[in-house]
Amino acid sequence: MKLFKKILVANRSEIAVRVIRACKELGIKTVAVYSDVERDSIHVRIADEAVCIGPANSSQSYLNIPGILSAAEITDSEAIHPGYGFLAENPHFAEACHTSGITFIGPSPENIRLGGEKAKARQMMKRKGIPIVPGSDGPISSEDSVLKVARRIGFPVILKASAGGGGKGMRIVNEEKDIEQAYYLAQSEALAAFGNGELYIEKYIPDMRHIEVQIMADNKGNVIHLGERDCSIQRRHQKLIEESPSPISTEKFRKKIGDLAIKAAKAMKYRNIGTMEFIVEPDENIYFMEINTRVQVEHSVTESVTGIDIIKEQIKLAAGLPLEYKQSNIRSSGHSIECRINAEDPERFIPSPGRITLFYQPGGPGVRVDTAAYCGWVVPPYYDSLIAKLIVHGKERGEAIMKMRRALDEFLIEGIKTTIPFHKKVLQHTDFEQGTFNTSFVEKITSGNAAGREAVPEV
């Protein structure tokens, strides 16, 4: 089985750069696509070919299926890598690629479809004996169902959009009288954001941890996992900091959650790479939450501790090659932490587009920066605000923390606001140092609620 001759990268910014890097290392030619305001982007400059596919707004460019397929056609691209976001989890796009004779680098359309119907995915996992977060059996049909389920599992509960993500279409309900408003708000938000107002309910566990497992599967149904990532540092359900191993992980825990991830993957005949997301209670009960049927932003954390190039493996799997590794080959070494640097105000998290006038990225041993930003580049206002990923790797968590602190200190970006000051604050906090944080952590420190103190006074 041969690898592809040419891959079109249907994305932009840091992930497009990441994919192009992997392709080049595999000797595969690359085609970048871009909107007409991104002509000067790094991914356009470093690709072998580039095609302008539309104007600035995403719907006419990075979400423009005919435009992207046409670009693949005129460049004779054999495969398309969708990155994350945009069309990565669009089953129609995956099918359209297939119909056009182009390989979609990712799981099957069926996998993607199930991943995008979260209520159904939960039901399926439950049937296969995988513990799920207590909640509704599939989607709820009315407001009355909310009360029924809440009485069964207890308040607080959270309403979630079945077709959703990114924190949209979600509402926490603390007591009965809040149900009506929450239901209608969540439903209309879901309808507006995803075109689908279907909701399901989960028990809301405020002090839970979000721990996910990276999986890889080949066409023969062999599945392995690459260990877990702890992504509990989130704001409004958007991840800000990720690390591996999880501070609560032990060999026993890792095996337990890893085996659950593999079981879930096999249950849905998963192909290519993906991530199984779990909620972990303080007493370490593990519940399946959802599947991410794509490469994730934080895949780099797993690469740091395992030494495996996940994108290269993904491309090989898409070309039909069998898995190169057995579970017994997978070793996690040391500790890795990643901070997502966004072009946002570090206190109010409001987007801060504009021209970057100084850009000095950290380096030195154990430091990796994945970015498409550079001095003089204009952060466009049309797309998401992630401009860089700062990943460190240390022998153990303490060293990784020290490394991240010093790397954040040397990451100099001027001209726009970034979340670097926020990350510095988190990295100094005792809860983070001690690994005793959960998904309520960001809210605690941003609202000034002193559940923990800063380990070192801020300068």
Partner: protein, 142 residues
């Protein structure tokens, strides 16, 4: 109006984006028109909200309109391999008249002229791959 007034007006315009300025004073009317020239690609990146680009000197003076590709695909001058091209240089065209076909994903998309005019230049070759925004035709508007 004195020469010094004119000099002052011109100096005022220098650091602005203003392309045309009309001033009336004491019965005299002065109109100053500037051509800002074709913005560099860097400039386009600098102002991502700018949808229309400034016109070239050529375009301004000769009322030339550039027809650009609205899609990604393959440019064809002819409706079919044995037929005559849709248009030729020097031909008059009307607004809405088909100038060419751009084939994308096996679908033939007819590209129409946005103005009445005369075809001055054809900027791409038959069978060439084109991207969004690629200049295809220069039409002198009449």
């Amino acid at each position: 109006m004195e020469i010094s007034d004119l000099k002052e007006l011109i100096a005022l315009l220098k650091d602005t984006d203003i392309t045309e300025l009309q001033v009336e004073k004491e019965g005299t009317m002065i109109k100053i028109r500037r051509h800002l020239g074709h913005p560099s690609l860097e400039l386009m990146a600098q102002r991502p909200v700018l949808q229309e680009r400034a016109k070239t000197v050529e375009e301004e003076t000769q009322r030339l309109v550039t027809i650009t590709s609205p899609i990604v695909g393959t440019f064809y001058r002819l409706p079919s391999p044995e037929a005559l091209p849709f248009v030729d240089v020097g031909m008059r065209v009307t607004k809405g008249q088909v100038l060419c076909i751009i084939e994308a994903m096996k679908l033939m998309n007819e590209i129409e002229s946005e103005v009445d005019g005369v075809v001055v230049k054809i900027l791409v070759e038959n069978g060439q791959s084109v991207e969004y925004g690629e200049p295809l035709f220069l039409i002198e508007q009449i």
